[in-house]
């Protein structure tokens, strides 16, 4: 497997009236062919700027972006446009041409590349079938729902047979059900057409649902990356723990805040169940064996790449000896255990 997108020491500085603003501070990142690569971070972290550097919609101030073996900075305008047509992109607000119907929207990238109208229409029909909108060819975007608009945008992005699809917060404006169906479609596109997908999002659930690799961006820096499974089970950075334990959406609710406040008060551990251990009553066995109560502060099951992962945060008794015994017991039973420090907020 080779890197299809390779970014090294990427920096981007915006000059504003109030001085320079460093949006990206030296990012290194490799996306392998066939990946669904998640780039996650809070709003303002720089992830949208980063993804725009992948097709030079935003020209980086420093560093290199190599796509399919070509350094984008070395391409002429014409070569760059040609390269861009091999990188599809979809957006949060869909960005469809409002005055053109669905068919003409999907044909647009083809006709601008000089493809004959009849051929473009044929290809567009196939694509509309792929995204399940063959009956909407003559509708205008204003007549479609958000999910349908994003499907049209996906069809349009795939028209030129790109090898890479960039998704900039593609599901952020959609309801959970529609989000799920769009993610399903992206997964299918990745599997069936072998298109590498790069997903920019602030929703951990999106990454969990479809990505195999993830990079976490905070204040213009890449703070952690790796397989989704690894980052999910053993988050190293503060930003990763925040995203995983809270989940940004959930963090906003007062309930979650209260729980996290409680978490600050006592010694607590986070355990992750793999598939097998979910069937065993580990916690109750542990309590009976050790004879000391634990406080279950939070428990959840999440699907990571199709495998069920249980996650639990336990508040431990204050006795250090009991704490050690509990941790040893859990480790013996092949659970992943780590101490949760106060900085989850």
């Amino acid at each position: 497997m080779s890197s299809i997108v390779s970014v090294s020491n990427l920096t981007k500085v915006f000059s504003t009236k109030d001085g320079d603003f460093e949006a990206l501070k030296g990012i290194d990142l490799d996306v392998e062919e066939g990946d669904i690569y998640g780039i996650i971070g809070m709003s303002g972290a720089g992830k949208s700027t980063l993804v725009r550097c992948f097709n030079f919609l935003e020209r980086p101030t420093g560093g290199h972006v190599v796509v399919e073996g070509r350094d984008l900075a070395e391409l002429s305008d014409k070569e760059l446009r040609e390269q861009r047509s091999r990188i599809g992109m979809i957006f949060q607000n869909f960005n469809l041409l409002m005055q053109k119907n669905v068919m003409d929207n999907v044909c647009f990238p083809l006709t601008t590349r000089g493809v004959k109208k009849s051929e473009a229409r044929k290809r567009a029909k196939e694509l509309l079938k792929t995204v399940g909108l063959e009956d909407k060819a003559k509708s205008y975007p204003a007549q479609l729902s958000g999910g349908q608009k994003q499907r049209v945008a996906i069809a349009r992005a795939l028209a030129t047979n790109p090898r890479i699809l960039l998704c900039d917060e593609a599901t952020s404006a959609l309801d959970p059900q529609t989000t799920a169906s769009i993610l399903e479609l992206l997964k299918r596109i990745n599997k069936e057409m072998g298109i590498t997908i790069i997903v920019i999002t602030h929703q951990m659930s999106v990454v969990r649902e479809i990505c195999n690799r993830v990079a976490i961006i905070e204040s213009g820096r890449l703070v952690e990356n790796g397989t989704v499974e690894r980052v999910f089970t053993h988050p190293k950075s503060r930003a990763a723990r925040k995203l995983i334990i809270g989940g940004v959406e959930e963090l906003d609710s007062p309930d979650a805040n209260r729980i996290i406040e409680e978490l600050h008060e006592e010694k607590k551990i986070r355990i992750v169940f793999s598939e097998n251990s979910s069937y065993e009553p580990v916690i109750s066995n542990m309590i009976m064996t050790i004879g000391s109560p634990v406080n279950i502060l939070r428990a959840d099951t999440k699907s990571v790449n199709g495998t069920a992962k249980g996650e639990m945060i336990l508040g431990l008794p204050s006795s250090v000896e009991a704490q050690d015994r509990i941790i040893d017991y859990l480790k013996e039973h092949n659970l992943e255990v780590e101490e949760v420090t106060g900085d989850v907020e």
Partner: protein
């Protein structure tokens, strides 16, 4: 009073007014449309930022728009003679009308095109479209409803200017209104011509509105 000669004169006046207005609008768009597009494209947030070109076009539009039409009419007499061969008459009036309308149209076009969602432009760029393709297939198409609304306003304004041209013997309904109403105190003829001018503006506005609504695909 309402002899056949007067009616014939008014009929001729309507045709002359239409002739001046439509041709001036046409020529003014030939200049003003690319001018307005250039203002957007060369803007610092535009497709191809160019400070010098933007400043020149911007200043020119401001200067030309601030010259009163009557003054422009007189200032341009040598130009008009060069282009048309005479400075008097309906055809000669088209020159100052075009020059007066072009910068106004450039500003209208500029503001219409600026309304186009920057996300759509970004999407077109991400698909590998060139700047020319974006101008022709994205900017002008997405802004067309606003452009037509602007054209409707322009045509009404140009019709109003053309009436002023009557002062220098330009012909048309305005000319009749000034000659009969002002110089000969025949108020009834003046009123008729003014009513006809109002009706013409109404007609243009109506046609413009219907076209704009028909072309707008943004509504369900």
């Amino acid at each position: 009073m309402w002899s056949s000669t007067v009616i014939e004169m008014i009929e001729k006046g309507i045709l002359e007014s239409l002739y001046m207005t439509l041709f001036s609008t046409l020529f003014a768009y030939v200049i003003g449309l690319p001018w307005g597009v250039a203002l957007v494209v060369f803007n610092q947030n535009g497709l191809k930022p160019n400070k010098v070109a933007y400043r020149v076009l911007d200043a020119l539009a401001n200067i030309m728009r601030s010259i009163p039409f009557l003054i422009l009419l007189i200032l341009l007499i040598p130009v008009t003679i060069f282009v048309v061969g005479t400075s008097i008459g309906t055809t000669a009036t088209i020159v100052p009308l075009t020059v007066a309308a072009a910068p106004m149209i450039a500003r209208m076009v500029e503001s219409s095109i600026q309304e186009v969602d920057s996300g759509v432009i970004e999407a077109a760029q991400s698909m590998g479209a060139s700047n020319w393709q974006i101008i022709l297939h994205v900017l002008l198409v997405e802004a067309r409803v606003s452009l037509i609304a602007g054209a409707t306003i322009s045509i009404g304004t140009i019709l109003g200017y053309s009436a002023m041209a009557g002062i220098v013997g330009g012909g048309g309904l305005g000319d009749i209104a000034i000659r009969y109403g002002y110089y000969r105190y025949q108020k009834d003829i003046m009123i008729v011509t003014v009513v006809l001018l109002v009706l013409l503006v109404q007609l243009f506005q109506f046609v413009g509105n219907v076209t704009a609504v028909k072309l707008d695909k943004r509504r369900r």
